[in-house]
C-alpha cells in the first residue's frame, strides 16, 4: 500500500519516541519532470529503515545515506540531485528532472 504523508510524519514521531535515531527528508524544490512534488517526505532511521519517497526511487538510496549521516552528526543539510550534477551518473534522475531535498535529524 502506498504510504501517505500522514503515515510518514506519524511514523517519524513514533520511531523517535521509541528511541530510534530518525531523520526526515523533504523535497523543497523541483525542476523539470521530477516525479515527486515539493513537500514530499521520506523518513529514515539509523539502520536505514525508511518509509515514503522523494523521487519515485531514483535517488532514494543517496537520500537515505544523507539521512543516516544527519542522524549521526545531528546537522540538517540541503542536497541536490539532477542530470547536471556530477553525481548524476551514479544517482541521477532518469527522468531528466532535478530536485533539492532538505534532510534533517529529528531531535
Amino acid at each position: 500500500m502506498l504510504s501517505t504523508e500522514t503515515d510518514i510524519l506519524s511514523t517519524a514521531e513514533a520511531w523517535r519516541r521509541a528511541g530510534r535515531g530518525v531523520a526526515l527528508a523533504t523535497v523543497i524544490e523541483t525542476w523539470g519532470s521530477a516525479p515527486r512534488p515539493v513537500g514530499s517526505h521520506l523518513v529514515v532511521d539509523a539502520d536505514g529503515n525508511f518509509l515514503g519517497s522523494v523521487s519515485g526511487g531514483c535517488v532514494e538510496g543517496a537520500v537515505i545515506t544523507e539521512g543516516m549521516e544527519a542522524i549521526a552528526d545531528g546537522r540538517a543539510r540541503v542536497v541536490a540531485f539532477g542530470v547536471a550534477d556530477e553525481t548524476a551518473w551514479r544517482v541521477g534522475l532518469s527522468c531528466g528532472g532535478r530536485i533539492r531535498v532538505y534532510v534533517e535529524p529529528v531531535t
Partner: protein, 233 residues
C-alpha cells in the same frame, strides 16, 4: 526537526486543522504556525497565501531562504442526493482529489451501480453526519442536490453550523427564496443563509448534468483557493 514540532504537526493534522511548518534553511530553526495563529503572525500575508494554495514551497524573507511545509486537511465533498448531476460530479470531484461521499436515504437512487467506487450512504443527513460520514468541518464542501427540502435542508443547516467552506444548493431562484424563508424561520441569520451558493454553480450557462457538475466544481475550487486568512471568520 524538534520532536515537539513534529508532534504538533501530527496533532493538528489528526484534528483536521491546518498548520504550516516554517523552516529557515540557513540556520535550521523551525516553528509551527497553527491556522488560528496565522493572522497574528509576522508573516501573516505570506502564510495565508500559501495555505490557500495548499502547496508547500520555498520563500525568501529578508534575504533568508525559508521552506514552508503547508499541511492542510484533505478537502471533502459531501454530495446530498444520488441524482443524475451527482453521477457526473463524482468522477470529476475525485479527479480533483476531493474525498467524495454521497448521502441519499432513497435506496432507489443510491445504488453502487450508479456510483461505482464512491462512498455511498443511504441515510438521512442528520443520521449520517458524525457516523457513516465524518462530522462536517471547515474543510468540507456540501452540495445539496435532491430538490427535496426534507433531505436538503438538514444537510444545509449542518453545513452552515459547521462553517463548511462551501455550501451550495440546487434549485431555482423561487425555490431558493422559499428555502431562505425556511432557514430564517429556524433561526439562521441573513449572513449565514447568504453563504449558500444558490442557484448552485458558476454562471456559465450549464445545461447538461456534466456541465452543471463543472459549474459546481468551478465554484468549489474558487472557494477553496480564496485566501483563508481573509475567509477567517
Amino acid at each position: 526537526m524538534q520532536l515537539d514540532a513534529l508532534t504538533a504537526l501530527n496533532a493538528e493534522r489528526a484534528a483536521r486543522r491546518a498548520a504550516i511548518l516554517v523552516t529557515d534553511l540557513d540556520g535550521g530553526t523551525q516553528r509551527v504556525v497553527r491556522e488560528a495563529e496565522i493572522a497574528a503572525d509576522p508573516l501573516a500575508d505570506l502564510l495565508g497565501q500559501r495555505l490557500a494554495s495548499g502547496k508547500s514551497s520555498l520563500a525568501e524573507v529578508e534575504g533568508r531562504p525559508l521552506f514552508l511545509t503547508v499541511q492542510a486537511p484533505p478537502v471533502r465533498l459531501v454530495i446530498v442526493g444520488a441524482v443524475h448531476i451527482s453521477q457526473a460530479l463524482c468522477p470529476m470531484a475525485t479527479a480533483l482529489d476531493l474525498d467524495v461521499a454521497v448521502i441519499d436515504p432513497r435506496t432507489a437512487f443510491a445504488t453502487p451501480e450508479r456510483f461505482p467506487g464512491i462512498d455511498l450512504v443511504t441515510l438521512w443527513p442528520d443520521e449520517a453526519f458524525g457516523g457513516a460520514v465524518p462530522a462536517l468541518d471547515r474543510y468540507c464542501a456540501v452540495a445539496a442536490l435532491t430538490h427535496d427540502p426534507k433531505i436538503d435542508d438538514p444537510a444545509l443547516m449542518a453545513a452552515l453550523r459547521a462553517d463548511c467552506f462551501y455550501v451550495g444548493a440546487l434549485g431555482s431562484r423561487k425555490t431558493h427564496a422559499a428555502r431562505v424563508a425556511r432557514l430564517g424561520a429556524v433561526g439562521f441569520t441573513e449572513d449565514a443563509i447568504g453563504r449558500i451558493a444558490a442557484p448552485i454553480g458558476l454562471d456559465i450557462g450549464a445545461v447538461s448534468p456534466a456541465e452543471i457538475a463543472v459549474s459546481i466544481l468551478g465554484q468549489i475550487v474558487e472557494a477553496q483557493r480564496a485566501p483563508r486568512s481573509a475567509a477567517a471568520r
